[in-house]
Every structure is written in C-alpha cells, then in structure tokens.
Symmetry: C4
C-alpha cells in the first residue's frame, strides 16, 4: 500500500474539504488525486459518508477505470475521472460536487456569464455548460461518455483544460480540476461563489451587461499571466 500512500492522503484531505466548504450534502460529491508516474488515481469510495472516510478507504483506479487496489467500490463517477486523467496529462486532481448554485445553473443549461473580477481572476471566459448527452450516450457507458461530453464541450468552444478548469454538465452538476487535488477543490468553491454572485447580479439587474474585455484581461493576467503579481 505504501506506494499509493501519498495520493490516498491527498484524496482523503481534499474530499474532507468538501463538507467544510459547504459544497456537499451527504455523499453528493467526490475528489480524486492522480499519480502521473504510476498512472493511477485515488478516489472516494461510492456512497460512504465523509465522516467515515479515511485515507485507507480511498480506492486506487487506473486511467482505464479499472480498480487496482481497495476493497470498496469506487465512486459511481469514477469513469468520468478516468477519461479526463487519460486525456489531460497535466491534471492532478478532479472534483465533482452538486453544490447548490453551480448545480442550479447546470439545471438551466446556461453558461455563467463573466460579470466581474471574481470570475475574471480565475478565467477569461464564461463558465461553459456542456449540453445533455444524446440518449444513446446516456443509455450506453454513461459516466465514460460524461468525460467525453466535457472534453467535446471545451473543444467546440476552443478552450483548453489548462485555461478553463471548471465546467457545468447540463442538467447535472459541476466538475472542476487542477494541477493538484487541492487546486481542484479550490476551483469548486470559487465556481460556487461565482455562480452565486452571477445569479444575484441577474436578479438585481435583468439583462445585466458583461464586463469589458480590458478588465477581464487585466484581472486574469495579474493572477495568471507571465507578469502575474498576485500571491507570494
């Protein structure tokens, strides 16, 4: 077990952040942590309450979705994680939640417009909402296809997974990712916050205009551009 120790602990710690950040009710969420060298990821077991989790209970799965180690059944969303890890080489962590505001947007099939710097600090574009899949994809290998639906949505919009680390899956809920599981969890909390404020802004001002391009660019680049000056 020792060679998976680090990702088990990373996955455990990251999963435990979800209830602390108010992003999950009961077991409605999961985080995975990848080890790129070993070609596997650790993921939350399916349906196990957060208070009963431990690093040991994390399930080790390869990028084809095959369980490599662990007695428990992995999250029912495991194949979505596997597909994304397989195709996105620089991703080290993936999160799925049903957080309230982001999920409410997903249920409308609308992308979240970029209304302010809180949003632009994290991405220049509207948070995309992938359309629901065809009936064939749903009835087929559903969770596997969900991964492709996410990738296709980004591809159609011309976004790279390194620029845009969050997406809504239509009628379902958000997925986020990042270089580490901790960053992916951070992105889930940011997305929920952005979703909350965009909802409020549209209530306060129907047909709310988006922010100007210069401001979007400025805020994104002060955190992420080559001359970024946010943080230490």
């Amino acid at each position: 077990m020792s060679k998976y120790k680090q990702i088990r602990e990373e996955a455990y710690e990251a999963n435990m952040q979800l209830p602390k950040l108010g992003l999950v009710l009961f077991t409605f969420g999961n985080v995975s942590a990848a080890d790129r060298e070993l070609g596997v990821f650790a993921i939350k077991p399916s349906g196990v309450p957060y208070e009963e989790l431990s690093p040991k209970k994390m399930v080790i799965v390869d990028f084809e979705g095959v369980t490599v180690e662990g007695k428990l059944r992995p999250s029912s969303d495991t194949l979505t994680h596997a597909v994304l890890y397989k195709h996105w080489e620089k991703v080290g962590g993936i999160v799925h939640t049903h957080s309230t505001y982001a999920t409410a947007w997903a249920q409308t099939l609308r992308s979240i417009p970029n209304y302010g710097t809180t949003h632009a600090d994290h991405t220049t574009v509207d948070i995309p909402c992938a359309p629901p899949m065809s009936d064939e994809m749903i009835q087929g290998n559903y969770e596997y296809e969900t991964g492709f639906q996410i990738m296709n949505c980004l591809a159609e919009k011309g976004f790279s997974y390194e620029e845009v680390e969050m997406i809504l899956v239509g009628n379902h809920a958000p997925f986020t990712w990042g270089k580490t599981p901790a960053k992916a969890v951070y992105n889930s909390a940011v997305l929920e916050n952005i979703a909350h404020m965009a909802y409020l802004s549209e209530q306060i001002r129907p047909h709310n205009p988006k922010m100007k391009d210069a401001l979007i660019k400025k805020h994104f680049e002060r955190k992420h551009g080559p001359d970024s000056y946010y943080g230490q």
Copy 2:
C-alpha cells in the same frame, strides 16, 4: 418500557438530526419510528424543544393514533403518521418539517419540476404537491384527513409510496417517509436541497425546461434500479 426501547432510540436519534441538518426552527418538525411487529410507532412529544428531548420522552402510539405508552402528549401531527403507517406496510419512518424551501414551494401549491440529476437520483417524477383539503376535511379530523389527502394525491397521480418518498402538502409543508426513520430524515434533507435548486433554476432561467427522460431514467436506475451501482 424495554420492548419499545429500539424505536424510542431510533425516533430520538432521527428527531435530533432535524436541527443538525437545518430543517427545523424551534419545534416545527417531528419524526416517528415504527415497529411493524408490535404495530406501534414512537413519535416526538408535542411542542418540546429538541434540546430537551430524550428517548424516554418519545410517545408510543398505535396505528389508530391511540397513545400506548408515555406521559407526554404526542405531536399534534400524530394522526397523519398513524394513517400513513396503517396503510403503507413497508414504511418504517415518517418525517414532517417546515423546512424553508420545501415549505415555500408548498405555499405555492406547485409540484417541484424535475430539473436535474440531484432530483432524478431520488425520484423520476416531479415532487407532488397535494392540494389543500376541502373545508369539511379541515374542520373535521384534520390531521387524520391530512394522511388521506397525501395518499389520495399519490393515487391520483399513479405513484406508489415506495417510488415516491416525499410530498408537499399544499399551503402547509413537506412530509417524507422511508423504510427507516434515518432514510425518512435523509429524504427531508434531499427534498429541501432539491426545492432550493429548483427555485434557483427558475430564477436563473424563467420557463426552465425539464430534463430529458433518458437522463432521468439513467440516474434513478443507477441508484435504485435492478442493476444499480451506487454505494457499497
């Protein structure tokens, strides 16, 4: 008292979950736990604050609504519980709350449309809202009739209580049930969450379309179908 010990403790534990889950203000809610062999249920005493509850204070009532054991007066909603236990043989727990979002929907007499997988994970249909009773029923044996109003609403819509474990009572508030009191409490929290997100979705997109049938079926069956693969 020992023969009722288990349901007293189950009812106590389940009642104490309501404030923890943010589903009740003061004493506005109650849970009961049935013992099918003994033909009785344990229910919260009326108007007693949660912090003063104990297993011993739970009141034992039979399926006609007659108190069998206990010094305190049972919940004012006891007859509704009794009617439902009498007619629904596989139900082991019933919950009534005035949780904020579910009650707000009940106050509009609208059913909650199925907008996403969080909803479809739990039921394929819209959460029904039973219409207010006739004046005669209200002025008669009100709580007893509430039980029939719930059953009639399900019957008219062709739903079985095993498929649909939650309902709104028009102008009043939600009732949920399940095989165990813990499952019934879980359903109350899920209903509140669904109610919150459906409300938000309609604000974000007026005339929000419902989700497609294939996706509803998929999500319900991965948790509840013969080939379900959620959980351990």
Copy 3:
C-alpha cells in the same frame, strides 16, 4: 438592585438569544423585559456589543421612558418600548431587530401575506406593515411616535395586540412582543422565518394566492384556540 434582578436577567437572557438565532448584526436589535408590579422594564444599553452584555448592564426604565437605575444610556429605541408597555397591559417583553427578511419586507411597505400554516400557526392575518410617519412625527419625538404609529396601525386594521404580536414599521424594521421576553424573541424568529418563506413563495409563483380561510382558522386554533391541542 435586587428588586430588578429578575427582569435584568430576563432581559439579558433574551437579548443574548438574538445573535444565537441569527437575528442581529452587531448591535442592531434590543429586547426589554417588563415588571408590571414595579411599573418598569429592563432594556439593553445603547450600542453595547452582545458579547459585552451582562444582567448588570441592563438599564431600568419606567413606562414614561425615564431611567430609574443604571449607569449606561438605554437603547435609542427605549421610548418606543415605553409607549407600548404603557398602553398594552398584558405585554411582558418587546423585541426590535433588523433581521434580514423581515426588514426587507418593511423596506417595501408591504404587509406579509398569509401563505401557509407556518404563518397561520401564529396569526390569522397578514403581518401588518405600519406606514412611515409624517415628517412632523419624524422630526418630533421620533421613538415615542414610533410607538403610536405601531398602535395606530393595529387600531386601523382592527387588530388587538394580543392577537397579533408582530409588526413591520415601514422603511424601518420589525417589532414583536409577547407575555414574556422569551415569547417576544420567539416571535421575532418566527417572523423572520415567515418573511423568508413568503418572499420565496412569491418568487416561485408570482401572484401567489393566499391560503383558504378554513385552513388559517384551523391552524391558528389548534395552537391558540379554546380547544388548542399543541404542546404539553
């Protein structure tokens, strides 16, 4: 000091409930507790943070609004309390807060319609909203006139202070009262809950219809009528 000990402690305990129930930000609220035999009430000192309160810091004031005992200045709303105690003989406690949802309704000058049993469990009528005072009253003895504005609003609508224990003061915020300070605080929390749910119901269903009279009557009377059967 000993003869005021009980109301000092009652007022202290009741004031401390406001932050616990989420009804106040900083010092935006106050509770008083009356001693009818002594013709005085104990009230929160003005602008003192809740965490620095103690029974000893409560200020003793008579029903004319004159401070009888205490080194601190009483709440700036003291004269409103005094007027109400003077005219309402059976009131033992009064609460003023700026709780979010009730205050939002007060800011619209609308009464809160009776949409459900949570409301009807406490009063049969819409929660009244007193109109803003005339400029003369505002520029005169403002807090004193606020008491009269509250009484006049009830009188015009034909409500007695014993039937209706809560009111919104237009463009300002709610006041509630009761036989005891604890009951008055309970009423403030109930009002906030009712205000929240009525707001949501109108969002979910614009032009939401009110509930039927028979149901209003039933719920009020099962808690407050001569044959009430709620509680112990």
Copy 4:
C-alpha cells in the same frame, strides 16, 4: 520592528474579522491599518490564507506604495490603499472584500438605493458604484488608478469620504474605510447587510420606492449628527 507593532496588530486583528464575519472566501479580501505619524500602513500579504496570518506577516508600506518593512509581497491591491491614505488624511483603515451581495451589486454597475433605516443609520445617500475605468487606466497602473476612480466617483457625486465610508467599484467589488481599521471592517459588514436587504426588497416589490428624506435625515443624525444619542 517595535515602532510598527501597533498597526501590525491592528491590521492582523482586523483582517481576521473578515472570515469571522463571512465576508471573504479564501484570500479574497484585505485590510490595512495606517499610522498617520509615521506615514505608513500595515497590510495583509498577498495570497496568504487567513489561518496562516500573524501580526509579523503584515507588510509595512508607505503612502507612495513602497514597501518599508516585511519579507512578504503586500496585497495586490496595495496601491489602491496607498492612494486613498495619501489623499484622505483622516482615514485610519481601509478594507477590500468580495463579499457576496455587495459584489453582486458592483457587478451590475448600480448604486444601492437607500430603502431603509439600516442604510440611513450609516449614510444618507445611495451607496455609490464607481463606473469601470477606461481601457487606458486598466492597462496602465491599474490598482493605483482604482484609487483615483474611487475618489473621482465621490467627487462627481459631491460626497466627502467622511460622510460616505463605502463604495462599490463597478464589475469589481466593494471598498470601505473609516477612522480605524475596526470601523472600516464594521462598514464592510454593514454594506454587505444593506446590499442583501436592498436586493430582497427589490425582489419583493419591483420598482420599490426610496424612503422619505425626513426619515433618512432622522436616522443618520441620531447616530452621527451633532445631537446624536446612539451608543454610550
């Protein structure tokens, strides 16, 4: 280090209030504390989580924005603070947050109308929203220009920074200030509360009318006028 000890501690204490008051997610906020005699201020280091802060980690900066002492990089918003301190001689503390409701208003470019006494207790005017800057200002010395944008907005409306201690920066988020850092934090919490209630009031009553002038004046003056009688 000893000569900056007091502002380090004031800035630390004030920064730690932001998460306690629910005004920040992660590191999305900062407070500074000025020493007028020394011509410097202490400010939160950029991107450092609140739980890792200490007085020692506060960065000392002069009113030109030059770091005087401290190993960490100061907040990315430091130049905005510097400009305001330089021009506003009586300000001792400045706060920037992305608090949910205030930021939602900022994202709509609307000022917050004065709908009630909670608002009027703090300022007589609508909370101004500074328009987004020109592209040139954004692409130039952005944070420095943000300070001027704030001052220009107040100047255009004829407000002094002593009368109005809070502003929304369009498409961005709120800034507040005060004679002390503690007062500036207080203003941030008040602004969030006002923003929340104004939003709700407009939902409850579209085209909600503003409150009457006499009431605005009365409430402001009872807290802030020459004859104020609020507090001790």
